[in-house]
């Protein structure tokens, strides 16, 4: 065994409280340097262990109570919070935003519904007017046909009607065109007849 190996072994023996192995014992018998090192380390080991007790000062009276009390006080002051303190703070803004969006959507829906209702009423009114106009038109045609089959229909008769039609919206005109197909033009039939 060489000296380096012996020094490692000596420290291991001291740290782990192991008995000396034969190879190490043999080396220590023949090597004064390692033997001295062993004795020196063993002596320091014993001295450090023996004097540690006297070196360590005692804790002051009431230290444990002070620590327990400090932890207790802190825990009693600690708010349950996560749920109580933080919940409204974190989620309140989201809740407010959600409410605002819902209100806006609701208001928009009501406005849209009201507008649709008005448009429906207007359309029905206009349709009724259109029906009247075309009924008049049919009557005019009929009269014109009866009066003079050969002569073209006097455009002056249509003038007020055209004026009325020009005021109508495109949708109403479209509805009128649809409607007009089903109005029996008796005058035309009469003319043909």
């Amino acid at each position: 065994m060489d000296c380096n190996k012996a020094i490692d072994e000596i420290n291991r023996v001291i740290d782990e409280g192991l008995p000396l192995e034969e190879s190490l014992s043999n080396h220590l018998r023949t090597c004064g340097k390692c033997s001295d090192y062993y004795m020196e380390m063993q002596s320091i080991d014993e001295k450090l262990a023996a004097s540690a007790t006297s070196f360590a000062p005692r804790a002051p009276e009431g230290l444990e109570a002070r620590i327990i009390s400090a932890i207790g006080n802190r825990n009693s002051r600690k708010p349950e919070p996560e749920k109580i303190t933080h919940f409204p703070f974190h989620y309140g803004r989201f809740a407010a935003a959600a409410c605002f969006i819902l209100l806006t959507m609701g208001a928009s829906f009501l406005v849209w519904q009201h507008k649709t209702e008005v448009e429906k009423q207007n359309s029905a009114k206009q349709l009724a007017e259109l029906k009247e106009i075309f009924t008049d038109l049919a009557n005019v045609n009929k009269k014109a046909g009866e009066a003079n089959e050969e002569k073209p229909i006097d455009s002056a008769l249509y003038a007020p009607l055209e004026n009325e039609v020009s005021k109508l919206t495109e949708d109403t005109k479209a509805a009128g065109r649809f409607f007009i197909r089903f109005i029996p033009f008796s005058s035309t039939e009469n003319r043909k007849g």
Binding site: N11, K33, E64, R66, I67
Partner: protein, 195 residues
Amino acid sequence: MPTATGAPDTANIGDLVRNVKSGDERSFDRLVHLFAERVYRFLMVRGLSSHDAEDITQESFMKAYDAIKDYDEKYAFSTWLFTIAKRQAVSHQRKQKHHVPLENLPDLPEKESQEEGSNLEGLWEFVRNNLNESHFDVLWLKYGEGMSLGDIAEVMNISQVNSRVLIHRAREKLAKLLPKSKEDAASTLAMTKEC
């Protein structure tokens, strides 16, 4: 190995820790009762004032209480607690270094400190004054607290091999620094010549 501070019976420590984890605060009081003295002494021997040692002991237990759910039971509770206390102490000492006014600096130790090491009572004082912090800590954890190399490595945040090397070097350094008796010196000289 006997410890300087009388290590508590560890039989029920695991149960106490499990109780605390499940919400039993009284079990933590018991842990305080078992370990407060040891933590305080560890801080005192590192050279802190009594007042600072008390404060840091308290802070260490508070931190331990807050973090006990993260405590891994494969390590000894004392090891974990000492790790917290050591970090707190190091952090405190760093702050102190930055804030000590010049007029409050302690006088530098004089050479007579070698005499401290010559008697058993002054040995640890000598160790603290002459070895660096790491060497002092590993020696204290081994001899003062009776910790294993594995536990020392954990507290020091180093590998087990490093903790072993650190202890050896600390002892060797101490051997070089300690004054030898005349007989010892003579016998050492004689044996060295033989080798």
